[in-house]
Symmetry: C2
Subunit: 247 residues, 2 copies
């Protein structure tokens, strides 16, 4: 399993991912799922991956080096727009599927994979996309300014309640950590370390990128305060007055 999310604010984008992969519960590993393609000041593009690891690694490789069998030489370092970048991911997925899908499915595996892609190229708009396993894509909007892939349900309620395009970047980064923490607690197939990247609008470069380890003091602090706060909030809610338990 996997949990990745991107939150597009007016002031920038926050990207975050867990790093656990598993081929059955007896085969668990740590793999990076957050990839940055940057020419500082000219472009910054971040790609997050979920799904079949062989497929996503083959896609990332083609995004860096150019599509297999393609003489155009398109990579995420030279595409002219974010839309073209999303389409390039779609073409790379289809390329890998054409080559591998029937063999994967013959072994009862799934070749399914999904991607988040966001960023900005100088002189163009900052954008955030979700690319499906079929290679088509949707864009985050004002109404729903975040995109999740993988195990999205446990971490969605906090996003729905607090994320707006006007939110500050660091508040959104905090929200991403709370969202991942909620997921980690309920699904052992999602786990730290967390990879995170934050970019400011119109800078076309990484503002902050780091790997947050399980013993990270800030992560431990918000995980503890959030958990204790939820317990207190629940206790403070009035109990129903439906019947007398002592009767």
């Amino acid at each position: 399993m996997t949990y990745c999310l991107g939150i597009r604010l007016n002031s920038g984008i926050v990207f975050a991912s867990d790093s656990r992969t598993n081929a059955g519960v007896d085969n668990i590993s740590t793999y990076r799922k957050l990839f940055v393609f940057e020419t500082p000041g000219e472009r910054v593009i971040c790609v997050l991956t979920a799904g079949n690891l062989a497929v996503t690694q083959a896609v990332i490789s083609q995004l860096e080096e150019g599509l297999d069998g393609d003489t155009d030489g398109d990579t995420l370092y030279n595409v002219s727009s974010l839309t073209n970048a999303a389409q390039l991911v779609g073409r790379a997925i289809r390329n890998v599927h054409d080559r591998d899908q029937k063999y994967i499915e013959a072994e009862d595996g799934s070749a399914s994979s999904t991607f988040i892609l966001g960023g900005q190229i100088k002189g163009r708009r900052m954008r955030l996309f979700q690319i499906y396993s079929a290679g088509n894509y949707i864009e985050a909007t004002e109404d729903t300014p975040y995109i999740q892939i993988g195990e999205s349900k446990y971490g969605k309620p906090i996003l729905e309640r607090v994320v707006t395009p006007e939110m500050e970047l660091l508040q959104a980064a905090k929200c991403a950590l709370v969202s991942i923490d909620s997921t980690v607690r309920s699904n052992v197939a999602v786990a730290l370390p967390i990879d995170m990247m934050v970019m400011n609008v119109d800078e076309c470069k990484v503002a902050m990128q780091q790997r947050i380890q399980p013993e990270d003091p800030y992560y431990l602090q918000i995980s503890k305060e959030w958990g204790e706060g939820l317990g207190k909030l629940f206790n403070d809610l009035p109990a129903p007055a439906w019947f007398d338990e002592t009767s």
Copy 2:
């Protein structure tokens, strides 16, 4: 979709379910999914249902009137133990599957259904079971004293954080409402009214049963206080000190 849960405490059991059914988003209805089989003082058994509505209705009918083609005359009103009750549900599911499953699947439908069954028969232990579509079952334990069926993910974190066997019944009823409220907010296929039943240990009868409508004042109050409290709790968490946003 559906969301039902049962919470087994030392002092009793809380059962709760939503009441939305949907055959596509253009075909939404309200159906009861919580059924009580009671001979006050002698037995109280509650069954909650999720999955194919035709299957679950056929199962409930057989639990009331006896299995089709079965001359034993077993119903939930005369089985001698809760284990036998769980097995009766399993036999009823298999009975319906034997008759209908291949025809449902020929129409690309799913005959899958799951059940929660809990209660107590005089002189025996109070128990809570989950019965799978295959007709086999598991029992709630001290370690995991609750059982969920249907859309379980959105409402699971609050259960994990606060439910213990020592919890008071009315606190658990409050917890069930918060859990359903979180689910209703994130999945339109889960909706009010909520059916709820509470039983005290060793009474072998219903202590409280009611249908909670969307305009119920207590439900509205805890939904509002929980939502506002989460927002405040999030805002009160410290922001990360990773970089200066104004730089």
